[in-house]
């Protein structure tokens, strides 16, 4: 397979404009003849479905929640980047581009990242026009703040609920189209397979989560916007329902999976409190703007935080990275927290956290400002831990949060299956080996509002007049396979709950393919995962039937796919014998303990092809060439 990235020629700043000018169009009168399926109603899917609907296409949108407004984009807290340079602090499209590609440790495409920075401007305009209540200054203009790893203030925010507000904007636009009849919204429906014939996406097979009915839907094109897969770790900041099933099934039908092991561990989450825990809660890293991170100097510290004098505290990020201090990129902050906890200097009852302390900022900024900026986070912290952050420093620890890996797509966001587009966190496109804070919301909306509407039209223009229907052989076969998979899970009737398997799988992936990776650990994981998967298929207990609402069955299907994905993640991480961004191989570090890349061998995207069960997947390389920037060793000293 020859991976064609389809990056347009020409100067970096003109690529997207030139490309867009030459994409083929579908005339308004013909648009309603095309059926578009959008799976997912988060920022990416919601924005795309609303835009397609408004353009006049015949759209069908699916999500597994009861309402499109509940997609996990709702949980994003901190903000969204855009190169508006409202602060006159030297920001520009180029600088946002450069920061993003450097933040990704030079494992992303220049052309994609530049385009992202370019359309970031329009996203803010669009959101404001929709009524998204971004924070404002007293003069009535938009406020900005600086966010993890950036030296300019380019982040737009809506208190600590930026994702919620942006999603409501997209959801409302979608609601308008639903009312207008251009979009048919089908919630509580889970996509369980992709229908492919002659390497072309024909439609999807879904399960109605209320009745259990398995149904097929045909379309001229399928757009997947199904989010990330951090839940492979079981404990993550993602919502419980987040899954890999949609993209994993597409992978098995011929879409390549790129850089599956590139996942981001977010530095500021509330540490685990016990076995019973079902998820980890993120505290926006905007807290790092005004909070200082520290641990006690001594390993056997027993005093409460307030009793430890200044001279016996180690502000380890400020000490090691004087230029960036507490604002170093996420991967650097996370790894350093792990190091001090591994040294035995962790804090809290389980000694599994580090302090994040706003005490110094209160006299400097006033309690009111702190409350305005972080009030809702501090409240949330109190609800979960029972502690008051105004008087005791918060405890934080890294948690899996975001997956840069995903289905491989070309510059048009189309996968290796003809007619299958992948947008938002579900694709691999823009963040390389590490994503900068506040850039996922930007990417989801860029893909959904400003890129897919053009590139999908270009694809459709060649298919005018083609009839679609879900009655063919491929649909029958695929639906039958879905039914069989469900039956198989129900038939095991073993002794262990789905969750117990998920916990065990999560622990393996966290230990061996988490924040720090070594060859030996991953080799062990590659033996442990299949063994546990076998046990799962012999001993899982799923009660009830497939023909009814069955939450255990839903979970079982998702966990089954996570097993396979976990294996691919370990394989990918093992093959990449270098460190880059979040992929930290302990064997490859600089003298300062930073990720050491090997550009001569690994300056490529690893895109994996499924070649059959029980067979090793085949890896394809998309070489990355840097024409406009010079890959450098990241340094945040």
């Amino acid at each position: 397979m020859n991976l064609q990235s389809k990056i347009p020629a020409g100067p970096l700043a003109d690529k997207w404009t030139n490309h867009r000018d030459h994409l083929k169009l579908v005339s308004p009168a013909n648009r309603r003849k095309f059926k578009i399926i959008v799976v997912g109603s988060g920022l990416a899917g919601g924005a795309a479905a609303a835009s397609f609907g408004e353009m006049g296409y015949n759209v069908e949108c699916f999500c597994f929640q009861d309402s499109p407004r509940r997609a996990h984009s709702i949980a994003a807290q901190g903000g969204i980047n855009a190169a508006k340079n409202y602060r006159n602090d030297g920001d520009s499209i180029w600088r946002l581009f450069y920061d993003t590609i450097k933040g990704g440790d030079f494992r992303a495409r220049e052309a994609n990242v530049y385009r992202l920075a370019e359309v970031s401007l329009e996203i803010i305009d669009q959101a404001v026009a929709q009524g998204v209540p971004f924070a404002r200054e007293y003069g009535g203009l938009l406020d900005n703040r600086s966010f993890g790893g950036a030296q300019v203030a380019r982040t737009f925010y809506a208190r600590g609920q930026t994702g919620q507000q942006l999603l409501l904007g997209a959801y409302q636009a979608l609601a308008k189209q639903i009312a207008a009849g251009t979009v048919k919204m089908t919630p509580r429906t889970e996509m369980l397979d992709l229908v492919v014939e002659d390497n072309r996406a024909q439609g999807i097979v879904v399960r109605d989560m209320i009745t259990g009915e398995v149904r097929s839907h045909a379309a001229h094109t399928v757009v997947l916007a199904t989010g990330g897969y951090s839940n492979v770790y079981n404990l993550s900041t993602n919502a419980i329902g987040c899954n890999t099933t949609a993209i994993w099934r597409a992978y098995r039908r011929g879409a390549l999976f790129a850089n599956p092991s590139f996942g981001q561990i977010h530095p500021t989450c509330i540490p685990q409190a016990g076995e019973h825990q079902s998820k980890l809660t993120l505290m926006s890293e905007s807290l790092r703007n005004d909070g200082r991170i520290w641990v006690p100097m001594k390993t056997d510290e027993t005093r409460a935080a307030g009793q430890i004098p200044e001279s016996e505290r180690d502000y380890f990020l400020e000490r090691k990275y004087p230029a960036f201090g507490n604002l170093v990129p996420r991967d650097v902050a996370s790894r350093n927290a792990k190091t001090v906890v591994d040294e035995g200097r962790g804090v809290g009852p389980m000694k599994n956290g580090v302090y994040l302390d706003v005490a110094d900022a209160i006299p400097r900024l006033g309690r009111e400002t702190i409350e305005e900026r972080y009030g809702n986070l501090i409240e949330m912290y109190q609800r979960i831990t029972g502690e008051n952050a105004y008087s005791t420093p918060m405890r934080i620890f890294p948690a899996p949060h975001y997956t840069m890996g995903g289905l491989w797509v070309d510059y048009n966001l189309m996968s290796t299956i003809d007619g299958l587009f992948v947008i938002g966190e579900a694709n691999f496109s823009d963040h390389g080996a590490n994503r900068l804070g506040a850039s996922a919301l930007m990417q989801g909306l860029a893909d959904g509002y400003f890129i897919a509407p053009y590139t999908v039209a270009n694809y459709l223009s060649a298919h005018l007049g083609e009839e679609v229907g879900a009655s063919g052989d491929a649909f029958r076969r695929t639906a039958e396979e879905v039914r069989q998979r469900t039956e198989k899970l129900l038939a095991v009737n073993g002794s262990r709950s789905v969750d117990s398997f998920h916990r065990e799988l999560g622990r393996i992936v966290w230990d061996d393919c988490g924040m720090e990776r070594v060859a030996q650990g991953m080799q062990q994981a590659l033996a442990k995962i299949p063994a546990l998967r076998d046990k799962f298929h012999q001993d899982v207990r799923v009660l009830g039937s497939g023909a009814e609402l069955n939450q255990e069955l839903e979970r079982a299907g998702r966990v089954a796919d996570y097993f396979d994905l976990a294996e691919l993640m370990c394989r990918d991480a093992l093959h990449r014998d270098e460190s880059c961004g979040c992929h930290f191989r302990a064997e490859h570090q600089t003298d300062e303990g930073e990720a050491l890349r090997h550009d001569d061998q690994f300056s490529y995207v690893a895109a994996w092809e499924h070649v059959g069960d029980g067979q090793e997947p085949r890896m394809h390389k998309e070489e990355l060439s840097f024409e406009f920037v010079q890959p450098s060793q990241r340094s945040y000293k």
Binding site: S51, E54, Q65, D66, S67, P68, R69, R70, I74, A75, K84, I124, D125, Q126, A127, V128, A129, Q130, G131, P133, R136, Y138, G140, L141, A158, Q164, Q165, Q172, A173, A175, K176, I178, A179, M185, P187, I210, A239, I240, G274, H276, Q277, S278, K279, T281, L282, E379, R383, I384, G386, Y449, F450, P453, S495, S497, S500, L543, E548, L549, Q551, E552
Partner: protein
């Protein structure tokens, strides 16, 4: 701690439901209310009994998916806290906890603790948006919005759409939800052109969905996990009246 649970079990929307008693041991105070239900379900599965169906997703109080009546109170005893963020340290050893689904004509029970809230989506479809085509928006800083207005719009927009307001209201009214949605957009300059149509359309839809009418019990405000104020209802009523006068 040991808890005595009484949970509403109902097989489907047409089957009759009933409260079923369970005793659950070793519940940690650090676990959330939903993690307590997870524990119960894991034990039920172990015994071969069908687990309790309840709705949830983000488990951090923002998606609005969760929500049950806990001892008669929507989202339970802690103020401004969604069910998923309620922690078991709020209860004591030996407590009896009654858990029921939201109850409203407009929220039919699907199964056990899960209800159908699509009526709220339909209210939004009836005008809860600002019409702006993708790509046609003017430069964002062209229209300054006074910080006070913007902050107020945010207060209304913080609604997570969980439906607790409806569930707690003796009349099953959706005024708090609807008014928060209307208010968020109606206070902003961008929302002015469609202001009265929005109020008229959404109120009409709300009534058509079978929600009750508001008699100022204010119980909605008390249980709202986001602390949305009933003042929004008065504002909506004003806009609705003006819409009437305009013949909308």
């Amino acid at each position: 701690m040991r808890l005595h649970l009484q949970i509403w079990r109902q097989e489907n929307s047409s089957a009759p439901g009933r409260l079923v008693k369970y005793t659950l041991d070793d519940v940690s105070g650090d676990s959330s209310f939903l993690e307590m239900l997870d524990l119960l379900n894991e034990q039920l599965v172990g015994k071969g009994e069908v687990p309790v169906v309840f709705e949830h997703d983000c488990r951090e109080g923002i998606c609005g998916a969760c929500g049950v009546m806990i001892n008669g109170q929507a989202h339970g005893p802690s103020a401004r806290t969604a069910t998923c963020q309620l922690h078991m340290r709020t209860f004591k050893d030996g407590d009896t906890i009654q858990i029921e689904p939201w109850r409203s004509v407009a929220f039919p029970v699907i199964r056990d603790l899960m209800v159908d809230r699509t009526s709220m989506d339909r209210i939004v479809q009836a005008g809860g948006f600002i019409s702006v085509r993708t790509g046609s928006a003017p430069e964002a800083n062209l229209t300054p919005v006074p910080k006070g207005d913007s902050d107020e719009a945010f207060d209304a927009a913080a609604c997570i759409g969980c439906g607790a307001c409806v569930a707690q209201c003796p009349n099953g009214a959706a005024q708090l939800f609807t008014s928060a949605k209307v208010g968020h957009l109606n206070i902003l300059p961008q929302g002015q052109p469609e202001r009265y149509q929005r109020a008229a359309g959404m109120v009409a839809r709300m009534e058509a969905e079978g929600f009750g009418s508001c008699s100022n019990y204010r119980e909605c405000e008390a249980v709202c996990p986001k602390g949305i104020s009933v003042d929004w209802i008065a504002r909506m009523n004003r806009d609705f009246l003006l819409a009437r006068l305009k013949g909308l």
